[in-house]
Symmetry: C2
Subunit: 176 residues, 2 copies
Amino acid sequence: MDFFDIVHARYSHKENFLPVPVPLNDLEKIARAGLSAPNGVNRQLTRLVLLPNREALASLSDLIEHGGLRSAPAAIAVLTTDETPPDGVNFEKEDYSAAVENMLLSAVALGYASLWLDYPWFDAERQKRAKEVLGAPDNYHLWATLPIGKPDGVGSRREKMPVEERLFYGTYGARK
Amino acid sequence: MDFFDIVHARYSHKENFLPVPVPLNDLEKIARAGLSAPNGVNRQLTRLVLLPNREALASLSDLIEHGGLRSAPAAIAVLTTDETPPDGVNFEKEDYSAAVENMLLSAVALGYASLWLDYPWFDAERQKRAKEVLGAPDNYHLWATLPIGKPDGVGSRREKMPVEERLFYGTYGARK
């Protein structure tokens, strides 16, 4: 599959997954792509936890109602820390986001669907319980869990604005 | 080039570029990949400004000392706004970061080098002047400028931690 075909084929799969296992080798390939994303000042603060089957996923998916994570045959949990030097910029969100995007594209490249599933972990109590389940250190945050698997049917796509409304030439608002 | 080869070939090119023009079609292909990145609640707040040649780039690169932007034959400026609904989460950083990562990978896919150049724009005075140059609305922020072109020589690479120190199995810290 051509690189640009992969980029444009990626979508946020919010529906269920088929109960088809994901080989560990595929998950590791996806995770290694995530860890090769650029990161602020080369501090490499992103950490990934592979949840390679339903057994490994059960305690985490029990915390939320989202169908995708509850049916996914595998997932990857994405954590970073906001620990920065006193004079340093906090690149936590940039770091984890670039890693997530690499992994979402990698999943498509290998024939899977995935989702940047973050909102359940914004809730403080659920964040705390998820970190306990994952055994994550206090100074790390769980930002996202990416369910990964073969989609059960064609997932829905959100409507997109015309590119011309977001892409300018030379100055903001200028058209081609 | 295989998708995973592209991911692992990407690096932050901090040195100079050759004075070889980048066809507008290539820049647009890169930008469209950026705009197809996932974004919070489908709000699509990321905006891109193509700076397709030195003339278009000059006023912006005059604001900073960075060699890469000063020698690049083209660049893309990346902006988002933090305007969110009263009860909404601000996904500004996640949105622009995913778009940037798509564009950095796209540049590699087309045979170019690039860089996530952000730190000059953290300075408030320079941010203000850059937004004037770009004609950006008050409520938008310039987060990054990506110089794009053929690298002048082999760029340096930062040393990376072993993947095993960042990739865990089932729980945080657990090895395979």
